[in-house]
Symmetry: C2
Subunit: 383 residues, 2 copies
């Protein structure tokens, strides 16, 4: 049912990048969501790296963060770099000579998977804000259907950072029998009010853009300016005070002191944020940003499970939790809390702190340190 049932992966998102390395899995049954709403089927775009072992015991799932996609790394020399380039590949932290790596665009996403920019097969029009609310649990349940389709019964490991880390935790809580080990990175057990607050600023910026039009913008320009502002505030939380001092300081784009007294003069940090905003607009859908940030807000492993401790107590597999010393979005105390609860529950939980100035984005940047940490972890997983 993969390539045939194309109807559910039609997208109204014009900037969607269809790579030749992307594959599609289409689930054609009604799919009930955590909210109680039902999706009339869905598609997940995914990419794989490496070779599945005859026993099927070398699968590593790599869920992505907020604006990620199925392309976690290049597949061949000259291929476009992925969001975890330098981490996933032959001989790297997630070694594709040993492991069969699966990376799928999340349910609710805009890079080939079904989300608010997809065509609702019932109306022939984009879902827009009529798309049902998606949670991290829904993302993971959809991935579970992808694995079923691929004939994979067990994951050697799940490794992900940020929203990918939330999915990683959810995998071990929801399907403890399917998972061999997990490494959630720079992620909380439930989202903090401060992170919700930052997300809400971004959403308000998008929804205040007159081009948003209640989410029905796919035949027009779209809320590019609002999405860019949302990205700007996001980017601040992915970095740190220290990294911004190092990278930008108080330098101006044009250095003449006479020019500083004008709104058109920019500090380098402003120019950088504008650039990052523009870049995201070129590759991401605004409604999807609304839905996925809401999924972040709603992330609470303990919801309906008797609280965080009860939920984490379901995890029975070796767990490596990585925090980043300078992370202001999901600071280390949030990872330490997870580790401390897991240890109380008797789980073999290790904590490693990435000591770096880059903030939350450290998990995408610090390839050398992360490789060392992850390689040690992979060596310790019983196969």
């Amino acid at each position: 049912m993969s390539q045939e049932a194309t109807v559910t992966h039609q997208s109204a998102f014009r900037k969607l990048k269809r790579r030749p390395t992307m594959q599609y899995f289409t689930y054609s049954e009604p799919f009930p969501l955590e909210s109680g709403a039902v999706l009339p089927g869905f598609t997940l775009a995914y990419e794989t790296y490496g070779t599945l072992s005859p026993k099927g015991d070398n699968v590593v799932l790599v869920p992505h963060a907020l604006t990620g996609d199925s392309h976690c790394a290049s597949h061949f020399p000259g291929d476009e770099p992925g969001w975890w380039e330098g981490f996933v590949g032959p001989g790297l932290a997630i070694d594709t000579e040993r492991y069969f790596v699966i990376c799928s665009n999340v349910l609710g996403g805009c890079q080939g998977s079904t989300g608010p920019a997809s065509i609702d097969p019932r109306t022939g029009k984009p879902y827009g804000m009529r798309f049902p609310m998606i949670t991290v649990r829904d993302m993971v349940r959809a991935q579970r259907e992808l694995l079923r389709f691929l004939g994979i019964e067990r994951l050697h490991a799940v490794v992900g950072g940020s929203m990918g880390g939330m999915q990683t935790l959810e995998w071990a809580v929801a399907y403890p029998e399917m998972v061999g080990a997990i490494a959630p990175i720079a992620t909380p057990g439930r989202s903090s009010p401060q992170s919700i607050a930052f997300n809400e600023v971004g959403r308000q910026a998008i929804m205040a853009d007159p081009n948003w039009r209640g989410g029905d913008y796919y035949d027009g320009e779209g809320p590019d300016r609002g999405l860019a502002i949302a990205r700007m505030v996001g980017m601040i939380t992915y970095q740190s005070d220290e990294s911004m001092w190092r990278k930008f300081g108080r330098e101006l784009m044009h250095a003449g002191i006479d020019e500083i007294y004008s709104f058109s003069t920019q500090f380098q940090v402003e120019s950088y944020l504008h650039y990052q905003g523009k870049k995201l607009v070129e590759r991401f859908d605004a409604n999807t940003y609304l839905y996925l940030t809401r999924a972040l807000d709603l992330f609470d492993l303990g919801r309906g499970r008797g609280g965080l401790k009860q939920a984490l107590s379901r995890i029975r597999v070796p767990t490596l939790v990585v925090g980043i010393s300078s992370d202001i979005l999901y600071p280390p105390y949030q990872q330490k809390e997870i580790v401390s609860i897991l240890r109380e529950c008797g789980v073999d939980a290790r904590y490693e702190e990435l000591d770096c100035p880059y903030g939350h984005d450290g998990f995408l940047i610090e390839a050398t340190k992360m490789t060392e940490i992850l390689k040690g972890f992979f060596q310790s997983i019983p196969r």
Copy 2:
């Protein structure tokens, strides 16, 4: 020339609050600014508390923060509370039984002083974005003219937090001979790139609002929505992760679990931000927000003075620098840097850290602790 020359304090800002306790000082000469631009005169709104001593040696200047005004405290029972209510008054930290307290709305402000919402006397229309760029130095130079008008030659002390702290530092650097002591609170020696980044998000939100109309909105609705978003991001930086956990946690406005899967359901922290956004819109002008945040960005004591150390070395008076342990906007290392440089220069500089979870806003909230700190400081100032 106070009450007569009303022409320069006409404001197009309809939400301007004219209190009976406000007085006006109008400077009717051309006033050259740090940028080289010249204002054709200006007005400052100000309020005073307590009584000037016959020797004129009991004056305390209290400059305000970004969205503050001349009303730092109520004047009589039943009067509207001020932004530093509980800090300024009889027997309080800044004791109006001992001191003659002056608080003026900054140049560039929208609460009675000349700013972008004022009528340009040359055109009869609001300045809007034709208002020249204002810096913290300009604010202080305008206050110096107010003091000249009032016949005050010396300030016993200057005490202010945040943007008020920047003015406090600038006073001691620009007019060391006029100042007896300073207490800058929760303020840097120069703005960090991260704080500039947050300001730029707010400005972009205002300027993206179609009602902003390039700043010429005074005959229409104005960019209320953009200003509210700017305030929302600001409010996050005035608080802390810990204070948001304490105040809001992950609580919803309406607690039913079935209702969480909707964009119309709000976490309490979101509702709070929306409320704060709305409240600011009722009392603050959007163009003024643009200008004053730019003044924050441009704040660098060392500019044109051979750097921060050279600038701080001009300070020769007892200095109390207060940092707030949980401040994410101007974190304590920024205050410690000031103290460390001052001590190198041989200045009697004390550092006190307000240990509280409230973040930057702690200086407006922690009345008891701040009173203890400030009272000790006032007692130590030679008179």
